[in-house]
Symmetry: C2
Subunit: 518 residues, 2 copies
């Protein structure tokens, strides 16, 4: 497909824009400080080096390393080549790492020795000759053969995008992120230039991310929740500061010295910072972020952007982060409003949109939707059935046009002609003050197909009758969704965090699920 | 081209989204109040009626009438058909109206009798058999034959988008707006679904336009400056209130009764409102807009959105409004920063990007750029040379990546190898405290090709020597741009507002302009 060069903007175009027009720093990482102009040159060098190594259109470059500016460089080098960067979770076991190496079949692996060399070495042994990837150690000392900085220094510095016919269509994938397992193994969601630029632009405007934004990359960059802000900062021409460590002292030092205005800080780290900085040794006032405990709020500047006032929303990796935003105006629903460039439908299992107020699968169309899963045509076709991206999550539109996310779709119960999502009924049960835990299964019924059976754990010291459980549901959700049968247990069987529904089906006679033949 | 239905969102998709998910009013106009669901049905009826009348893909529907909700309906009906709505200036002379009818060669004209029936009648007589358009009077009494409401009542209410293969590619034009004359006659800029949705989404997030926004459409809707906010309100699921009259009393009444949160109000109307409402008879506190005189500011709620704090930017019709926004972060330049989904280049006449700090033509790539001018292939090719949209405007990037708009490109002077834009030198001259007016022309020079000659009007009661004029320029812009010759006149010759450069060339020996052969 010939790109429509006058109407498209790729990640490489965004870089070219900033390189031409701003003197600002694009990234800071340990001793490295690069302007957008320098980033442009370094990524051209890397792109040319990767091409020399055989990386072509659509080929994967796997990043197995901690946070570092070189991850952003690798993404932009891939953008210039039409290739795909896959930043994967380096905290995984050797078996899991081996799976990722096999599954992504990368042309090049960018890796690091520090902290993860041992696990990676075991994974490489496991994969053996199954992978033809070329391995480049990004944290090798400059001067050592094959080191990242050596390769850059030797490479051609001309922009490969300057070659005639080198334009990359904005709809091509540039990023691949592994997502939760469906059917047992993770899948790599392929995200396009357009998805990254579009989401970055919206997120930037809602979070007040401008060219003066300095984002501290201290969350895991293989996760879209951190990476989407990295990209919003890049797209807006701000500065990304990278750190491999989530240590309160190091974060404080960087916030103060670089004047960071944003950071991905989770509550435990926040608590550490409050303790560490009780004496005010660090000035963290540049940081515009959510208020919290009074000691925390006194250290930072409360974020008064639309996002700061109404953070969060509903999303997933396959849509480049968020579908809906609390920041997009008042909402009755719990998860805000869809981005205005998306079409969001709530679909029943037959693929028809249900009226507002009714529960169904959240489905999405629009520029931030993934192109598909790498090398998983069947799973991709399933998720894209009927021209919608199926999120596998349940939701409902409220009367004001806002969205409520209910939970993962998981299994479906069919009673008469009605579709009943166990997740929805479970969420209702858990709002009862005497319910500690609950699970819903379907049991075969000759007349209705299936009946709803609730398995309930009652809170210690409380009593609950089956009739009360049923009444509670009848008064909160549609009557046909209420359990007809209730069983009480001391605890739900679980595998890890997940309820073991197979065990419940076996114990309480569950079955007859639609599409399972029994 | 087959649309990529999973990644695209057209204006019809936006309407479907709101119709399915919100109970809010989409539009209010006189006695009419329609929800998004009703708007969806009415526009399906209109689309089917238009198709029956022969309106097909890419065909133009011309709107020659005042502000009315039916303009939005016509746009959305066109969106459903893949046709193009052209809202044209109804205030023009009969000759100008005749030009627009001929040039846009519409399949259907939606017109009104009130105020403009007479001028339109003369224009129709002038065009005569040259136009095969079907005329529909939108303000005819319901019941009269061929009236808009009659046609809707009789039409099929099913959504034409539901037919297989009826999908419209988001890159297709849906809106056509006539823009300033180049080469003597206005040209119709064709703007795509994607341009409208993308710009609406960004503008909405910068202006804090959400589903609770109520926009009073009191500026001219054939102008992008008003229409872009109408569309941002639509895209965000808010309510558009239409009024054909810009009368202070009527505006106040509507703001109070509908709780309008936004409006397109120019300073003269603002002054009228301040006078009319001195006694506080109307409560205008819902209106979030720019502060002004204390009496005005006390009546309204000052807009604290990013746009409210830093309004404006640089733009033109051909890019669906704005290219750069003051709201996108701090900027040294006078016109803010480019939208993050655009690539903006400053190009020299050879089509090469110039370094930051240097002046050249502002050129743009990205999703909001027009598809071209209707039926003007040569002009379109000229504006899109080298894969950039050429704005015909001069600008400069400052060191912080922000943009300064200098003025229209108009003529170019070439001295040695240097390109000199008269507009830039004139802007510099006008900053001299003793200069009342100034124009720059080029005079042929055997050695340099051309020399710069300044024609200066000195302020009454002041004195100015040629050497001072030259020194002033030397100290403010690059030395090669300074005038070598200075002439003083009492007044510049003008045609309307525009300086008559041909008269100046003739009087002072101008000529030798590049590309003119003399």
């Amino acid at each position: 497909m010939t790109p429509d060069v006058i109407h498209q903007v790729t990640m490489a175009d965004v870089l070219a824009e900033h390189a031409a027009h701003t003197e600002r720093l694009a990234c800071i990482c340990g001793p490295y400080r690069f302007s957008y102009e320098q980033l442009d040159e370094r990524t051209s060098r890397l792109a040319n080096a990767l091409r020399e190594l055989g990386v072509g259109r659509g080929d994967r470059v796997l990043w197995l390393a901690q946070n570092c500016h070189r991850l952003l460089e690798a993404l932009l080098a891939c953008a210039k080549l039409g290739s795909v960067l896959c930043p994967a979770n380096w905290r995984q076991s050797s078996d899991e790492l081996a799976f990722v190496i096999r599954d992504s079949s990368p042309a090049v692996v960018l890796w690091q020795e520090r902290h993860i060399g041992e696990g990676l070495s075991a994974a490489r042994d496991q994969v053996g000759a199954d992978s033809a990837a070329i391995w480049i150690q990004h944290d090798a000392e400059p001067g050592s053969p094959g080191a990242y900085e050596e390769i850059l220094a030797r490479a051609d510095s001309r922009n490969p995008q300057a070659l005639p016919g080198a334009e990359v269509p904005e709809g091509d994938a540039v990023l691949m992120l592994y997502t939760a397992a469906f059917g047992g193994r993770p899948a790599g969601a392929l995200l396009s230039h357009r998805a990254l630029v579009t989401q970055g632009a919206l997120l930037g405007s809602l979070q007040g991310i401008g060219a003066d934004y300095v984002y501290l990359n201290c969350g895991p960059l293989f996760h879209v929740a951190t990476l989407m802000t990295t990209l919003a900062t890049f797209v807006s021409g701000g500065t990304n500061v990278f750190t491999p460590r989530v240590e309160a002292d190091e974060l404080c030092r960087l916030i103060e010295s670089e004047g960071c205005t944003g950071a991905f800080i989770m509550p435990p780290t926040m608590a550490q910072i409050v303790e560490l900085n009780a004496d005010g040794r660090y000035d963290l006032k540049t940081l515009r972020t959510f208020a919290g405990k009074p000691e925390w709020t006194a250290m930072i500047t409360p974020d008064d952007s639309p996002w700061g006032r109404h953070p969060g929303g509903y999303g997933q990796t396959e849509v480049m982060g968020l579908v809906s935003f609390g920041a997009l105006g008042p909402s009755v629903g719990s998860h805000g409003r869809p981005a205005p460039f998306l079409r969001v439908g709530i679909l029943d299992p037959a693929g028809r949109e249900v009226p507002r107020g009714e529960t169904g699968e959240i489905c999405v169309k629009g520029p931030t939707v993934m192109n598909g899963y790498f090398n998983r045509p069947d799973l991709t076709a399933e998720r894209q059935a009927g021209g919608w991206h199926h999120t596998n999550d349940l939701g409902r539109f409220e009367h004001d046009g806002s969205l409520t996310f209910i939970g993962p779709r998981s299994r479906l119960i069919k009673s008469a002609a009605e579709n009943i999502y166990p997740t929805e009924v479970e969420a209702c049960l858990k709002t009862h003050p005497h319910v500690a835990d609950a699970a819903i299964i379907g049991v075969p019924d000759r007349t209705w197909g299936q009946n709803v059976l609730a398995v309930v754990v009652v809170k210690e010291g409380e009593n609950l009758a089956a009739e009360e459980v049923i009444d509670h549901c009848r008064s909160h959700i549609a009557s046909y969704k209420k359990p007809k049968l209730v069983e009480f247990v001391d605890a739900l069987p679980r595998q890890g965090f997940a309820v073991d529904y197979a065990a419940l089906d076996e114990r309480f006679g569950g079955g007859g699920y639609p599409g399972t033949g029994g």
